[in-house]
Symmetry: C2
Subunit: 549 residues, 2 copies
């Protein structure tokens, strides 16, 4: 019996991870992370719950990676902290994974990495996997054709079917059509851009706009983009290589990405046009082009530091042109806008997606999604890689494209789908969840800790210390009040002084009662909460320490 | 000498407030708030610093209100806590302001409200103000023509120049053209949508889409929109008034807005089609249309509660259609998407801006902005109402439209512009800032409190209590450790146990030294920070209470 179980990515953009198993062979496609949502205070990353994998680790034979984006590889180091297992991916993906393993100090983990190329066939247990080139916003991405005892399953990876001028990176439509000819049992397809009509614009269009902008800029040009968008980097290199400008690559992640892509021959930058950051002053402004990161408004990125004057070598100034060649990812708009506004204030001309066509998405639009269905002609269809609304619209699109309503499966994380005799059933669910990573703590920050952090963050904290003589009930020490994040003590310190009077009154009330410390612990927080709410309408966390000695 | 000083709104969307003064007459246009940015933890609202106004309050003669949106009226109650001054506005704006004053228990404040209508002339000191109807996403908006001793100044308010089918709400182009004919010294114009090409689509287009959607919905229809978007409410009423559906208005702010608009004759809902929420079960699903709030994903809104089943009378279910007839405001996308995903999971058909034309902005696009310049033909131009990037682009647009570069003034909050003999100068700045409102505290939450809240929210807190015998140095009590938002104690409690050992070791080290309490207060936080950073890579706030008795 063939089983497919999505552990992440069906119900969110991120956390992509899918189990495919048959008898005693289990493989995983991708192991991605997600960046924390707003309410996940202090959380660094989110990874999928790997409980199901660890329970079945004796059957786990391999992990197949479709491409090098964080939402497809970011959870790998966390999985490798538990188990080592062969990982198959294209050279660029493995290059990025290697540097990730090094960062996590997973010595020896890289020995488990195995290179595959588009067209390669890989046999594991009852499965044969064939990798198919797809075009995406990261270089060297693949989809996977999985020949299983129950039939052929096609996983698109993240893809678009747009024309591209970048050599060797075009989606291999022929291979998908061939799958269709052989007969596809199930298509698993990227849903990210199902809400967008038509087709993704061509790279050529973006190239032309960029070319015009770069050539007409009077001074330095600074292009900010995703570090892994090697095709875009190549486009820009191609634009400037016959002109006067020299190129500087600046920013930790883009330097890594460029180094790996160059080593693998995936990126070609003529030696004579690339210069180091320290040579920047050897050339006039109009001969400089800087490629950097920070297009999402990350506050510590090179671009953010350039915009505030905190970058050591590059300070944005009058006559500079900054091009943000990437999308505004929802949730990041305000941070991006802040950088744009700062740059304009410094006299920089800023070009961004809203005012110019300088970016094109890496995910197929509606018509390309239909093309994928038409090429592969699957019996069953499962939309993957999207929030529920994307999966919903993709499922409706598949029905409209002629796939039978009963064969379109709108799954969520944890749903098990089984295939037997060419028919699908949904026998149940495995447990899944989002595991929060905070520092070295994996999964210990849960609902209660987040709730405490939320209250602390919105209302602050008041600590009270009192020591009472056990015999006499006299106050030996205190009441001492310390607050954090509650009020600014030089402005509203009188509120804390008044709170002391309230505490003293309550102590007086209970001093002759039995269990007075216990009583105080109970009564003080309520009384203070009421007082603070009345005077300043805030409800801080109140921590009373009451001791009898 | 005529002075104009923007106190807010030039450099942000929000906080709109502008001073216009001549000799001993000062008036203010609008007094708006802003919703807090992400880093302003626990803050309820942001208002402009009114220091300049309060210092000059003897000269303040009136406040003119352009329309009823929060970013134009939200700071009025805070100003009225300091001074009472006549406020002039259209009936709907004053209706909303009255309810605001009541909420803030500003008894007597409403006596200062004076109604004006488009076409009215108002004389205050050396000024004559003439109000001009503008079309915007709130009903009953106006721009202001200000006849000053130095010349005519036109303030557009928030406007668009699109055709509308809503009676009496069309922008009065004739009045602006007449200003142009009389000669305009200065145009102050709304910059919000300067990045958008062309013209705003017509209300008619939105009406047609809505009509088709409502008529083809098989069950209940729930429309979520901005409470103050009375024109949109009227459009929907017009769509259903000849059909079978009854209308239910649900949600605190929309009920208020509808009540005021109906009282003023600005909204006409035939009695026989409006029913109360308690009658919802008396009609079949296909005869129900609910208008509600929550289109921005507000977690406590009626729509959010419908989507999670927490709404008392209305639970979203299979066969319902939900229409979000408003824009996704940047920063709110994730919250909106969460509600959309939840609704789809419940089988609801959700229609939103990305997939259908069911909303049109209330702010002029590029071509309309040019039309405004062409109608008024000003000598000077100041872009208002926008982030810096909007002001920047609007200034460039004005130059392209033929206003002399030296007469286009890119001001920021606090900049003073003076007019004398028809010429402008920029003599300096007044102090401005953003004042944070948290509960009843106005301005006491500043940088240091926000920083404490941020650290508490990301890393949590550890409190340590130790009492030492002053004579012997023996520990009388503790070390007691209490944490909040740091680790989940049943999972990682051993970390706190180990921390106790570290504390005990340090106490042992210092027990024989002079000033041991002082030493402990100094050494413990560092040692614990290092330990926590090493074991779990978190850096909580550490509060040590060390007492010698």
């Amino acid at each position: 019996m063939l089983k497919i179980i999505p552990l992440g990515g069906l119900g969110e953009i991120g956390l992509n991870m899918m189990v495919v198993e048959y008898a005693d062979t289990m493989i995983i496609i991708d192991a991605g992370l997600m960046f924390p949502e707003d309410y996940m205070l202090g959380v660094d990353y989110v990874i999928p719950d790997m409980g199901y994998i660890l329970q079945n680790k004796s059957r786990l034979k391999a992990i197949l990676i479709t491409h090098a984006h964080e939402d497809h590889i970011g959870a790998l180091p966390y999985l490798f902290k538990e188990i080592n297992v062969p990982v198959y991916g294209t050279p660029f993906a493995l290059g990025i994974i290697t540097s990730k393993f090094e960062e996590h100090r997973l010595t020896g983990a890289s020995a488990f990495l195995h290179t595959i190329h588009p067209g390669d066939q890989l046999e594991i247990g009852p499965f044969v996997f064939k990798f198919i080139r797809v075009n995406h916003s990261v270089v060297d991405g693949v989809g996977i054709a999985m020949y299983t005892p129950e039939g052929l399953i096609v996983h698109t990876g993240d893809f678009k079917i747009s024309n591209t001028t970048i050599e060797g990176m075009k989606t291999d439509e022929g291979a998908f059509i061939q799958c269709g000819d052989e007969g596809v049992l199930l298509l698993l397809s990227d849903s990210t851009n199902v809400e967008r009509e038509g087709r993704t614009p061509s790279d050529e269009h973006v190239s032309n706009t960029l070319k015009q902008l770069i050539h007409s800029s009077p001074g330095r040009v600074i292009v900010a983009l995703f570090a892994s968008n090697v095709s875009r980097i190549q486009q820009i290199v191609n634009i400037i290589k016959d002109g006067k400008r020299k190129i500087i690559i600046n920013g930790r992640s883009i330097e890594l990405s460029v180094r790996i892509a160059k080593e693998l021959g995936l990126l070609k930058i003529p030696n004579e046009i690339e210069i180091g950051i320290n040579e920047i002053d050897d050339y006039p402004d109009e001969e400089i082009l800087i490629m950097t990161t920070g297009s999402q408004g990350e506050p510590m990125s090179a671009l953010a530091r350039m915009s505030t004057g905190m970058h050591k070598q590059i300070k944005a100034r009058d006559n500079d042109t900054v091009i943000l060649s990437s999308k505004f990812i929802p949730g990041n708009e305000k941070a991006i806008a802040k950088i744009i506004n700062n740059l304009f204030r410094k006299g920089v001309n800023v070009i961004y997606e809203k005012i110019s066509d300088i970016h094109v998405s890496g995910h197929a639009f509606k018509e390309e999604l239909i093309m994928m269905m038409e090429m592969t002609r699957p019996k069953y269809f499962i939309p993957i890689h999207g929030e529920y609304r994307h999966l919903y619209h993709h499922a409706r699109l598949a029905e409209a494209a002629g796939i039978g309503k009963e064969n379109v499966m709108l799954l969520e994380n944890g749903d098990i789908i089984e295939f037997s005799g060419g028919e699908a059933t949904l026998p149940g669910k495995v447990g899944t969840s989002r595991v929060l990573v905070d520092g070295k703590g994996i999964g210990d920050v849960g609902r209660s800790v987040l709730k405490e952090r939320r209250i602390l963050s919105e209302e602050g904290l008041v600590v009270i210390n009192i020591i009472i003589d056990e015999e006499t009930g006299f106050i030996i020490f205190g009441p001492e009040i310390v607050s954090k994040g509650f009020v600014f003590e030089t402005e509203t310190g009188h509120i804390l002084e008044d709170a002391k009077c309230i505490i003293l009154e309550i102590i007086e009330d209970v001093v002759d009662m039995p269990h007075r410390a216990e009583l105080l612990r109970k009564r003080l927080p309520g009384a203070l909460r009421e007082y603070f709410n009345f005077t300043i309408k805030r409800r801080p966390v109140i921590l009373p320490f009451i001791l009898e000695l």
